[in-house]
Symmetry: C2
Subunit: 499 residues, 2 copies
Amino acid sequence: MNAFVAMSENPRIQQIIEKYKPIWALNHAFALLGWDLETYMPTGASEPRGFAQAQLTMLKQERVIALSGLISEAQKDTNLSENDKGVLRIVGREVDYYTKVPSTLIEQLQRTATEANVVWREARRKSEFSKFQPYLEKLVELKRLETEKLGYHGHPYNALLDKFEEGLTVDDVDAIFSRLVPRLKQILTKVTAEKRYPAHHPLESQKYEEAAMKKVNMDLLTLLGMPKENFRLDISTHPFTSSMAVNDVRITTRYEGVDFKEAISHVIHESGHAIYELQIDPTLEYTPLVNAPSLGLHESQSRFWENFVGRSKEFTKLIHPILRKNLPFVSGYEDDEIYRYFNMIRPSLIRVEADEITYNFHIVLRYELEKRLIAGDVSASEIPAVWSNMMEEYVGIKPGTDAEGSLQDIHWSSGDFGYFPTYSLGNVIAGMIFNRIRKDMNLEENIKNGRLIEIRKWLREHIHGWGGIYSPKELQQRIFGEVYNPDRLIAYLESKFLT
Amino acid sequence: MNAFVAMSENPRIQQIIEKYKPIWALNHAFALLGWDLETYMPTGASEPRGFAQAQLTMLKQERVIALSGLISEAQKDTNLSENDKGVLRIVGREVDYYTKVPSTLIEQLQRTATEANVVWREARRKSEFSKFQPYLEKLVELKRLETEKLGYHGHPYNALLDKFEEGLTVDDVDAIFSRLVPRLKQILTKVTAEKRYPAHHPLESQKYEEAAMKKVNMDLLTLLGMPKENFRLDISTHPFTSSMAVNDVRITTRYEGVDFKEAISHVIHESGHAIYELQIDPTLEYTPLVNAPSLGLHESQSRFWENFVGRSKEFTKLIHPILRKNLPFVSGYEDDEIYRYFNMIRPSLIRVEADEITYNFHIVLRYELEKRLIAGDVSASEIPAVWSNMMEEYVGIKPGTDAEGSLQDIHWSSGDFGYFPTYSLGNVIAGMIFNRIRKDMNLEENIKNGRLIEIRKWLREHIHGWGGIYSPKELQQRIFGEVYNPDRLIAYLESKFLT
């Protein structure tokens, strides 16, 4: 048992912390159940797994709602520490959610999403949007009902944004994209015209051996300083990070067997998420504070490591020996050529294949569609056509099939509306980190010399260590003196790609 | 979600079944948490894992105790089905345990066991019993307290036996061993004198490649009919079986790199446990009935497959092609020689290395010691000396060190007093199965022809399918018309080794 757990001098907060322990334990179990589902669970075992998750969700719900009275009382207290306020904020949000959204609706959403997920897989395989359409309609209907139950100011989509990114509104996101999109278009046009970054590269069709790539990954993880005793790497269809505890964080990757920069990106991206979880102050363990404040902040870490560090000239040079040692076909390429391969710029139809510049176009498209779906301004049946037109508007190309269009992502089938924007927030915040961290260190020099520990330290001190004490906007204000400022990302991209 | 879950026409029982679902879900989580702990969990993550398990145990406890009223009411009902009675019996036992044993004692036992476990590992490594002694004293004291809380008729050890094997008493176990021990000694003396079964064999020092042994295991699992979609094999320090659900059952094994019969035994033994779990009637899923009635019955399955099937002439012949295909060094040996290697008979100091004949001597020794420890007739400090004398009495040899004496097993350090006897019950019941199944089929012929499915079917029909509907004694009475009869095991061993 842990000798030290965060304490509060406020007796009500202390009671909340105590009563939160079984909720933490349920979250620990959820994390393991979810990780196992994607990694080792036998394929025929999804039914009991779903049953267990639903039952445990009800247990959690009950425990959260039971904190309602304590929360209301504690909210009257005036002399609260920062940590106390964090506890109140986080648990208050959970109580609020479970109190406002009836368990019948939660269950209906879960059940519909489970069915929709199966149908979506089939629809995507056959590239037939019409198969998925009724499920999308139903899910949108249920999500709209959820927004009504949750309540909102302004746009109903705000209620969904807030679930993943506390306090985020369509006004925030509109402001970000209205600044970001035209500038990204300018950058793209220029990069494409100047041809300094390739649209194609011979290495993207180069096949690799899984065993060799595993060795590359192991070396990368060592370079990134991932602790063997608190961390593991496994394989799953879609790479993800799962944290069971501050000292039990796991990532997954996949091996496509070709185009090795993707494999490298997966591992660096997920390690970015993992480093966040591993560096949360361990005294916050077992409390409501032992989480990142939002998905946007979490994604800023994976993006910062994957793109700002991982696709830099210095990093590609740093890992060149690792590549050469394990991947014989790399030997014919100079550092600069590897750098160019890592930074191919090419408008594409598929989000997960998009480069640093065009990635955000894929997000604004989904954001605009979700907003309209939830507002009722567009119906599910219109999605393929609207998608197609928007793709042309943002990326300049149209999908030939639904599979490479509106059926490409899992999110809608899981009922995760409001999630996509956090990917762009991740890019935006990573840009703010890039801007800010370089005031404290010579970032390029540290990367070049493999002193990644300096970057980890900085991130722990400024971001990770705080866990969920501050809301995403508060935390940004404290670190950067500004919130979701897209200009930092723009400046970085312009400097990287245009100078 | 499952469309069909066992229902009862009795509304109180139906309510119990409904309210048991979150308990089932917690058990599902416990199974996964435990499996992960032994297989994939990062080494530095045991503290949060222990914390989560303790918290979830408290949740379970609370849920179980909440069923107390419904149980008392339902017990008054007279028109109960067999399934209803099973539900009442099983949940009644759980309520009884958590009601009688205060949660403070459960927690103290868990905490002490966690500490004792660490100390035991160190003590065993250094072979110093004195290091472990104070923890053994403390654990015995707590277990005696537990017997007082639980209450018992006759010997206090009965309270502990009953936890693992419902209704088992020292009178039962004394009756078994007083019949078994002298006969086993006779068999051993004769086998040793006749030298028909070797005490040593060149294959026991033959090294093997892990990769080759994995292929053998895969072929064995196919032969045993283990379903890929509901089953997996992983690696852990000590082989075990874990069931998350009827269609999610997992076993583990280990690769010592030498003496391949051990590796084969592990996989067949654990598969025997797994087949039990996989063949419980799936309509019992999510109810209190979806478990074997006792450890003795569970062990009867692993022992039956490992020894009665796995060490038979027919089976060694059946798997000879698998061995030859994957283990080149086997090619020089005839079927009969492989059979002799699989059936080496040699009194040894280590329980887990013991053969079919001497194994039970190791159990009676532990049983006698536990009984005396719990009765206060022997103190922890006397254990090494008493152990040594008893080993000489039963097995004819004395341990040279504590590591190969009283420190060899993990059970005491985990507080599992009353567990050991179920190993011998497993052998005894396996003997009864061997006797009974041969009235319904030509067992040898089925093994010879690889028709193991016939054995699986018989076991499902007579044992597995019933789940926990009947108590261990009731179930035996129904199948065999007799209970824990050691004569069947004796007859089998005499026939195998003396004729």
